[in-house]
């Protein structure tokens, strides 16, 4: 359990009126993700998911005011109905450009309801702590290759 949050970490805990298996599907299937990703004024018209460890995902949310915002990352760990770990980054050129985040989501079901714990940490912190630079770089190379393939198909 996370007790001390650093300045660059985010923790959001929510209880949903649904079993863990359904929440797991909402995160792992593009047809579901398109229905909820993004804040109120946004739609999510694009989502591609290669749901396996090392697999990439990519999506886009848009609004009249903010236009298209592409995002993507790579799945690091998947435990069915329990846990999903993935990297997350925006493609845009704003202040968040190029910042890799590591997101960990866990699901804990109780009497048909599920507590979803969302934790986001800046990748810079993780990189400096673990020094797993080469491993991450190759994952990002794969992501870039995947994104290029997607662009060709469109």
């Amino acid at each position: 359990m996370i007790t001390d949050l650093a300045d660059d970490e985010l923790l959001i805990t929510r209880t949903f009126d649904a079993p863990a298996a359904l929440l797991f599907q909402l995160w792992s299937r593009p047809e579901h993700m398109k229905r909820w990703m993004g804040p109120a004024s946004f739609t999510c018209p694009a989502a591609e998911i290669d749901f396996r460890p090392g697999g990439a995902y990519r999506g886009m949310i848009q609004s009249a005011e903010h236009g298209e915002n592409w995002f993507g990352g790579v799945y690091r760990e998947i435990v069915p109905d329990r846990k999903i770990v993935f990297t997350f980054a925006w493609d845009n050129d704003g202040p968040s450009a190029g910042h890799q985040m590591l997101v960990t989501i866990t699901f804990e079901e109780r009497h048909g309801r599920t507590v979803q714990t969302f934790h986001q940490k800046s990748f810079l912190t993780i990189q400096s702590r673990d020094g797993h630079v080469s491993g991450w770089t190759s994952a990002f190379d794969k992501l870039a290759a995947y994104a290029a393939t997607l662009a060709e198909e469109q």
């Binding site: 959001i12 949903f16 359904l22 990703m37 986001q120 990189q127």
Partner: protein
Amino acid sequence: MPTPDALSATLSALADPTGRAILARLAEGEATVNELAQPFAISLPAVSRHLKVLEGAGLISRGREAQWRPCRLEADALRDVDDWLGRYRRFWSGSFDKMDAYIAELKRKEKRR
């Protein structure tokens, strides 16, 4: 609004545990390099290197006098990190609101079957 590079420098500096500890100490008030080095098992030059990184990231500023150069916390850089994190919080919280509504919709469809 910070540039991507400025934010990167701030986040990198924050990623270091010693850097964080120095910032925590400076949150209590100004301090000299000697005072900052005391709680750490590292040399003065090592502390100076940490201070240089923090200063480069805009997280601290240092006095002008050569001998007595007190370090102080600069709140603006930390506020930028806070604003940046706030945008993520709004993004995800807003998404989870929609997730809640979508679950309700899925349940209504399930019942009709």
